[in-house]
Symmetry: C2
Subunit: 497 residues, 2 copies
């Protein structure tokens, strides 16, 4: 059998194991009783070990090398490239280091939960320092294997081909723009109007969410909506599991969360069936994934067009027991800007500042320019520079996010890269598809979905993120369209590019 | 590292994979949307292949042999025996034959669903013949590996150490007893009384089921109750997932199903923690497993004592909107005997006749004394002999059960062995524990559960089924206690042994 065909068989089996892991993670977050945790951890650890062993088996490198000489078409070639990338990330790092990091992350993450609750950074600092020490070791090794800088090697785990050179330029542009822009928005923003009065029963919220998911194109024979503490999109492309949480006093944040996860789900579901269990058939990376959720949530759903369609359905769902269902009222509520110390509570305008702060700090941590003891001070200083105030404590500062404590360095920038990519893709779709926004106002998302299927979802990992974006929008990612979008939405200004 | 310790590590990993498979099966039956089926089948097939490869790796036999010479305690020795049994069943059969049988079962089972709906045995007969042909091959190979007859080798998959010699004696005894006994029961049985009037809302049925599960000792931090088309007990000992289905016109059958699965769940949950991920820590076999569900359902819950406790809770659950909640009324409904062509609808008295019929037929099929074409005729003739009537069609005859079509030969006898074991264990518990039935009447199941934990659950697979039963009840399984139980319950006769 040709080497490439042998590799396809191997990577299909690896994909089945990844899917099994995905389902077990979903179950853990949605269904599993607490007493199942220890056994579940062992199940997942064994699947991870089996997967790692299969991927790093001695013969895989030879097969990858041999396949390079075989005649492959476009998709096959891209598939081989993705296989090699998977293999490089897995094989580069010694098993003992992987395990040491995994143990350090578990310990740090567990202590972080207590430390955050207590607002006591010193409690978790030594554990975070150990995670950082091992992560820097991994970064150094992967840096050599991939031929990029240590931070870029970490970034590549989430954002294939991502580079600080590109991100720096974009974030500098945006970082320079945001403080003044925020001031202008706050200066002219009217008071938050009174919206519909609750309570909003969970059952009704769920029905409304399911109804809007269906309108957006979510296929319920290929997915579910459930409840979890932290909303996410999991499962597999043929069985997409999204989650939300409900607050009876506020239906809008849960609903926007459902629409956000639906964006992720539509991406997974639109991946090409022909490449279902192969690396090239996967979503391209985290920034493109986040672009799909934010395109649906921020670009499409927090628009007057969407609310023109959805406001009557919302009013109907909750029995119109109060006023506040006018499109303009809901629009103002959805887009209200209010700086907050907590990232996950941030609005569209201030969110990028949170991310830029974390990006700067994690780069310094990985480079060795900042150590863990200096983190709280650097955080507070950076926050003040970007958003004008100093967090009153570490709970509202450097203890708020799980990411670093769980070893996820290189992940944060993808949130804002995703937001900018969403703006750029939506802008291109609106220009390419006649009456796309008219259709949205009529509750018809097929024109938008069709464009996304062709230009993003169906491409899976065939192209690099940059190339995909150039083909879809005519240019690589820059901050321009996103800034225009913010100016238009929050200041009512017309586009300047 | 000693061979035994190496084997413990291997079998722990195998157990984690089995648990992952169990969770994926549970999800498939309860949560998975239909469109996830194809991917799920691939996930499960890969986990099965990985498991098989790990278990049949060349070095396992050497380790098993080497461990025999190492100093092992009682439990370790039993664990080694169970490891060898697992290995024998997996390694004896060539991989191609395992796969061919697996494919034949999938094809046959799929066609069976249509054939049963259409009542058309001829449609599925060639596929069943292929399953039988391959199963006989497997039986022949395992017969030589295990040193028992081909049918006993199949039986051993479900009932370790089970033998036709023992079953024949027991089933002959019971088969001779049943027809006359059934006649006597039907002759003196009063008409079915009018019970409580429905509808019984699903939510209320669920609440009642959860309440009774809790009283029986089900720990909800270690398990769940969900809905599936066919009720089952799945998951893992620390995360037991039981299911039921609801009928708004009849709460009792769902509730008794919940209690039945709770019996299975209590067994799983009571397995010794110290041996959690080892073969010796598993439930002993299918007849003992079924004994635990039937002990809770048939022996404990379909009793006057249980109903004295539960009838008021039932009435309360459904708002006492009608009469029929008297203990004697519910008791009569629960124990009404009515011969039926369908096994899963059978009552306690006629159920064994269904099983004895299938046992005789599958032995003849495996022995080559009966071929697939002769099956419908043999079925109908055997049914008439045991229960006095001839099924009007194959839908109500040899097409009704999935087992053979899915390759499960050797499974059927465990149902009735379980029913008899349940009677013998419950009888022993009542004699050993003062006021056990008084406690049940007060809704206190701890005395019963304590006895089961010590004598059955906590023993896991340390002892053979026979030895476990001798230690717990003073003698090996015979039909006597079960017959006494039936005479007492259905004819009001005192025990004759």
């Amino acid at each position: 059998m040709p080497a490439y065909a042998t590799l396809e068989e191997l990577f299909a089996r690896l994909s089945h194991i990844e899917q099994a892991q995905g389902m077990l993670h979903w179950d853990m977050a949605t269904m599993m009783p607490s007493g199942g945790a220890a056994s579940r951890a062992r199940q997942l650890a064994t699947l991870k070990a089996v997967h790692h062993q299969m991927l790093t088996d001695g013969k895989v490198k030879d097969l990858l090398d041999a396949a390079t000489a075989e005649p492959l078409d476009d998709w096959q070639g891209a598939n081989l490239r993705e296989m090699r990338r998977d293999w490089l990330h897995a094989a580069a790092v010694p098993g003992e280091l992987v395990e040491a990091l995994s143990r350090a992350c578990s310990a740090s993450e567990m202590t972080w939960r207590e430390a955050r609750a207590a607002g006591d950074f010193a409690q978790v600092a030594p554990l975070l320092a150990e995670v950082l020490r091992l992560t820097r070791e991994v970064a150094e090794i992967k840096s050599q294997a991939l031929g990029v800088s240590p931070y870029d090697a970490l970034l590549d785990q989430y954002e294939p081909g991502g580079s600080t050179a590109a991100i720096d330029a974009i974030f500098e542009d945006l970082g320079a723009f945001l403080p003044e822009f925020l001031g202008a928005v706050l200066a002219r923003q009217p008071a938050l109007p009174a919206g519909p009065a609750g309570p909003f029963p969970v059952e009704r919220q769920k029905e409304l969410g399911l109804r809007l998911m269906g309108r957006l194109g979510f296929e319920f024979e290929h997915g579910r909506l459930d409840i979890s503490q932290h909303p996410f999109c999991g499962g597999t492309p043929d069985d997409v599991r999204i989650t939300t949480r409900y607050d009876e006093a506020d239906f809008m944040s849960s609903l926007m969360g459902v629409l956000h996860e639906t964006g992720h789900a539509l991406y997974e579901r639109g991946l090409p069936v022909a490449w279902r269990h192969q690396p090239v058939g996967r979503a391209r990376g985290m920034s493109l994934h986040e672009s799909q959720s934010l395109l649906i949530e921020m670009q499409a759903s927090r628009s007057r067009q969407f609310l023109a369609f959805a406001a009557p359905l919302m009013a109907e769902a909750f029995g119109r027991r109060s006023g506040g269902w006018e499109v303009e009222t809901l629009y103002a509520i959805n887009l209200h800007v209010k700086p907050d110390f907590i990232r996950v509570d941030a609005d569209e305008v201030t969110y990028p500042a949170h991310v830029i702060l974390r990006y700067r700090l994690e780069r310094a941590l990985i480079a060795g320019d900042l150590d863990v003891d200096g983190l709280p001070g650097a955080w507070n200083e950076g926050f003040r520079d970007l958003l004008g105030e100093t967090p009153p404590d570490d709970r509202q500062g450097c203890l708020q996010d799980i990411h670093w404590y769980d070893g996820a360095f290189g992940y944060f920038p993808t949130y804002t890269l995703g937001a900018m990519t969403a703006a750029q893709l939506f802008d291109a779709a609106v220009k390419a598809v006649p009456d796309l926004q008219v259709a949205i106002a009529a509750g018809d998302f097929q024109p938008l979905l069709g464009w996304l299927r062709a230009n993003v979802h169906g491409q899976a990992s065939r192209l690099g993120t940059d190339e995909l974006l150039i083909r879809a929008t005519g240019r690589p990612l820059d901050a321009g369209v996103f800034k225009d979008h913010l100016r238009r939405r929050y200041l009512g200004e017309e586009a300047v590019v």
